[in-house]
């Protein structure tokens, strides 16, 4: 990958481009059948860490070795804010245009940021020489448009969900060239790593 810290989008996506099923709303955050996209994480032997077995475990370890998290508000709320700690006490930057809800838990690791470039810059500073984990479709779209997303790790799932929320939408007409950095051909998932070319 790169010598210095990189912002890396990690998302599970169906072959037809969806990251949730239809009817994804509060209480059904992944949408109908959306859990199908995360079955590869349930393949593990460790029910606490969710670390999958085999080569997917190595990809999971990379994700968990990141030094900061940038997540969209929607992703953050669906995940219950990871109870304030995504992994290992690294800082979490939540991209949002709205102030936090009244009565939202006061989690010391969590910072709300309104601008994607600022979120990425602060996360990189916090991560030091480690990578930044990026989660969320809208956040990915904004980061690509702003030129502040360095890499993509797509967990491509062998299913056509047919409907739902797409990872790549609203990107605008200009091509964004990628460079294929690595493929991990695992049972039930193809991990595709891309560098964003600039």
């Amino acid at each position: 990958m790169r010598a210095t810290s990189a912002t890396v989008l990690y998302m599970s996506m169906s072959l037809d481009g969806f990251i949730t099923g239809p009817n994804d709303d509060r209480g059904n955050g992944l949408g109908d059948d959306g859990h199908r996209l995360h079955d590869w994480l349930a393949d593990g032997t460790d029910p606490v860490s969710h670390r999958p077995s085999g080569v997917s475990g190595d990809v999971f370890d990379e994700l968990m070795a990141t030094g900061a998290v940038v997540a969209g508000r929607r992703t953050f709320e669906i995940a219950g804010g990871w109870s304030g700690d995504h992994h290992d006490g690294v800082p979490i930057f939540v991209l949002t245009r709205r102030p936090p809800d009244r009565g939202a838990p006061d989690w010391p690791l969590v910072t709300y940021v309104t601008d994607v470039a600022t979120a990425m810059a602060r996360a990189k500073a916090a991560a030091g020489d480690r990578n930044v984990l990026v989660h969320g479709a809208r956040t990915a779209q904004l980061a690509l448009a702003a030129g502040v997303l360095d890499e993509l790790e797509i967990h491509q799932i062998p299913v056509l969900l047919g409907q739902g929320r797409r990872l790549f939408d609203h990107l605008g007409p200009d091509h964004i060239e990628l460079e294929l950095a690595r493929i991990v051909d695992a049972p039930g998932v193809t991990h595709l790593r891309y560098l964003v070319r600039r």
Binding site: L15, D16, L144, V159, Q163, L171, I176, E177, D185
Partner: protein
């Protein structure tokens, strides 16, 4: 037994054609970007070197072609011969255009995708059927007559154009059959589970 295989080059964001895809501009803007991998070592269109060449051989070894009307009209039925004189079947509810009278290998099938596929498989014998076209692929998936998908996934985000997979009425489970990793494209073969 014959199996039906969709062959399509697709951007990471799911597009198989760029914007303004119409007969005067087949494939739309940027279409060539999705097919750069089909090039000889000299840079001409043709059989690529290395593992991608095997894919080229596979589709040239197929025994029939089933392609959507939009696809065939954009290339005027490949001049009547897709490869090696194998028959070409076009599912369509409308009668063919005038050029088709000159193409004995081309058959328009008016009674649906399942019938078209059955005729293509019968013609192919033991060989596979190459399926082309986004609309046709979706109808074949819905009708349960598509057996495999050979996706050439291209490392680019198109941002607009024509998608391979629009909304489908229900979930379709696949099985990863083979992954071929080249710098220009990731070639993933899926089997449709039934």
């Amino acid at each position: 037994m014959s199996s039906s295989v969709l062959y399509m080059s697709m951007s990471l964001d799911g597009y198989i054609a760029g914007p303004n895809d119409e007969p005067r501009n087949p494939g739309g803007e940027g279409f060539d970007r999705l097919h750069e991998w089909i090039a000889t070592p000299d840079g001409e269109y043709g059989r690529p070197a290395g593992p991608a060449g095997e894919l080229f051989d596979e589709w040239n070894a197929s025994g029939a072609v089933l392609a959507g009307r939009r696809t065939v009209e954009q290339v005027d039925h490949w001049g009547g011969d897709h490869h090696h004189g194998v028959p070409i079947f076009v599912p369509s509810h409308r009668p063919p255009g005038p050029s088709v009278a000159n193409y004995p290998l081309v058959t328009y099938v008016t009674d649906g995708i399942a019938s078209a596929m059955a005729q293509a498989k019968a013609a192919a014998g033991d060989l596979s059927v190459v399926v082309q076209g986004a609309y046709t692929a979706q109808r074949a998936l819905e009708a349960g007559v598509l057996d495999e998908l050979q996706i050439h996934q291209i490392p680019v985000l198109f941002g607009g154009g024509r998608r391979l997979f629009e909304v489908l009425p229900s979930r379709v489970e696949l099985e990863i059959a083979r992954v071929i990793d080249t710098p220009q494209a990731t070639h993933i073969r899926y089997r449709v589970r039934r």
